[in-house]
């Protein structure tokens, strides 16, 4: 069970206020989609969750504990590009998380441990449909396959939260629909909490249990600098999606009891 709490987050770069007063509580097992126009600070917010950037004020709690100020294993990530290692094979890319975890000095596993790791990696590769490609290098994979590999690689480490930064933005429409279905499946099967940044509204509503729209309240040139983006809409997606039973109890997508009557109107 993982909850992420953002408390009164402000982010400023010099005089420029990017985000103001962001308060979000992300329940365990939910799939939060962050949307908003470009430059509204949604990627900045994700970077703060990742630990790459620090909020100017406010704090982020992961299971009640302040977030480590650098990226670490408890937050997995898939970027739009460069998410997998070009020098490792498909199998090697999935294995590497386990190797980092269990072999501090060599970063390599041998014998029984390696065998178990390979079994687990193969299971994940199967669930993302890459079983037949485990000895290929990423350069030989299509964009969609690379992103599926990146998902498997991130899930291998069993992060508490999975962060996605426009993960499917560079894919062709057909491939994207395919990867959406897979993403949904993984979320249902693995019982993870996901935060995804996207500029694609239909993607946000298709995958998310909750869609949060960031927007600048004031956008006139002379005001722009001093007013950052804040939460404009916080929408529970209807109908609620449910994850598979984990540890004997059903994990419902617990979201605030706010149901938008007209979803697209609310976001625009």
């Amino acid at each position: 069970m993982t909850t992420v709490v953002l408390e009164k987050i402000w982010k400023e770069y010099g005089n420029q206020i990017v985000l103001e007063n962001i308060d979000i509580t992300i329940e365990s097992g939910s799939f939060v989609a962050l949307v908003g126009p470009s430059g509204c600070g949604k990627t900045t917010l994700l970077k703060m969750l990742l630990g790459e950037e620090r909020p100017t004020s406010g704090r982020i709690l992961l299971d009640g504990v302040p977030l480590k100020a650098e990226p670490d294993w408890d937050r997995g990530v898939v970027f739009q590009r460069y998410s997998v290692f070009p020098h490792l094979t498909v199998l090697g890319n999935v294995l590497v998380g386990r190797e980092f975890e269990q072999s501090r000095l060599l970063g390599r596993l041998f014998g029984a441990k390696r065998k178990t790791a390979i079994e687990d990696a193969r299971a994940l590769l199967k669930s993302v449909g890459l079983s037949d490609h485990e000895n290929k290098y990423p350069a030989a994979l299509s964009g969609g396959m690379q992103q599926r590999l990146a998902l498997a690689q991130a899930l291998m480490r069993k992060p508490k939260v999975l962060l996605l930064d426009e993960p499917f933005g560079a894919l062709d429409p057909g491939i994207r629909a395919e990867v959406h279905a897979l993403m949904n499946e993984l979320w249902v099967e693995q019982g993870i909490t996901v935060v995804m940044v996207t500029h694609d509204l239909s993607e946000a509503f298709r995958l998310g249990t909750r869609v949060i729209a960031l927007e600048r309240r004031r956008n006139r040139p002379e005001e722009k600098e001093r007013y950052g983006a804040t939460i404009a809409h916080d929408i529970a997606v209807w109908p609620p999606k449910k994850q598979k039973k984990l540890n004997g109890s059903a994990v419902a997508s617990e979201v605030p009891a706010l149901v938008a009557t007209d979803v697209s109107a609310a976001v625009h």
């Binding site: 790459e52 990226p71 670490d72 294993w73 460069y82 070009p86 020098h87 980092f100 975890e101 970063g107």
Partner: protein, 272 residues
């Protein structure tokens, strides 16, 4: 059709490629023939037969004073110096280049110094080396290292900095420590570029080797060339120059092959 869109066939390509080589050989032969027919004792443009005779002496007849086969002992000692110098450069560029490219503290410590150091024309410190470490092997090896290390080190540090930030963040989210990232992410991605840097660095390395041998040595390919120069022995100098060229070419070829074999995932032309 525009000439830029016309491509020679494979056979024509080979013909065109070999043309300059043939032209040079023919021009030399004509020049050599003309000079030798005027004066059979001419030393400036020796014939192939004369060169072969001179080389035969150096390759297969032991030297009267030392008993060495000079051509082979020259080659061995020169390659040894080159290998030592390049070895030091490779070690330095791996250790300092990778850490300077990856760890901000080390970068602050190393980078400005190396940048300043690389501006020193290496040949100017040769006298300093002679005075400080003497005239033996150390000064020649140091010259090669000094001449190539800064440039290789900077290439490696740059290669590390060019690794996309996303990849480093990704490694951290998989729980990697700095050490694990260096050994499993950074080094493997930098090694093919180190080979590229080594291939480039071999060019100045040869220059510094021959210079050092020419100035102060009692053996080596460069030493021999500059020794026999006093007797206008073009019949030795020309084959030695060709031999050095051949060695340099073979080294480059070998490194290129090693790079393709060991790093099948690395294709520089595909870099976006």
């Amino acid at each position: 059709m525009r000439i830029i869109n016309r491509h020679p066939s494979r056979g024509l390509y080979i013909l065109l490629a070999s043309l300059p080589f043939i032209a040079l050989a023919v021009a030399y032969s004509i020049g050599s023939y003309q000079r030798l027919s005027v004066n059979p004792a001419d030393k400036i443009l020796p014939s192939v037969t004369q060169m072969m005779a001179a080389m035969n002496e150096l390759m297969f007849v032991p030297d009267k004073r030392t008993g060495d086969y000079l051509f082979w002992s020259d080659t061995a000692i020169s390659l040894w110096r080159l290998a030592c110098g390049m070895g030091i450069s490779i070690a330095l560029s791996l250790i300092l280049g990778v850490t300077a490219g990856f760890i901000p503290w080390v970068r602050a410590l190393v980078k400005p110094f190396v940048e300043a150091f690389s501006l020193i024309p290496p040949i100017t410190i040769l006298p300093i080396l002679f005075i400080m470490v003497g005239l033996d092997e150390a000064s020649k090896i140091t010259l090669i290292a000094v001449g190539t290390a800064p440039l290789m080190l900077r290439a490696v540090a740059l290669a590390v900095e060019e690794i996309p930030r996303e990849m480093i963040v990704k490694a951290q989210t998989l729980g990697a420590s700095t050490w694990q990232m260096i050994t499993r992410v950074v080094l493997p991605q930098v090694l093919p570029k180190l080979i590229v840097a080594t291939r480039f660095a071999l060019i100045p390395a040869w220059i510094f080797l021959v210079s050092a041998e020419a100035i102060a040595a009692v053996s080596g390919l460069g030493y021999r060339i500059f020794l026999v120069r006093r007797f206008l022995s073009m019949d030795v100098i020309i084959p030695y120059v060709l031999w050095i060229t051949l060695l340099a070419w073979l080294m480059d070829l070998t490194l290129a092959m090693v790079q393709r074999r060991l790093f099948p995932w690395f294709q520089p032309e595909q870099k976006s």
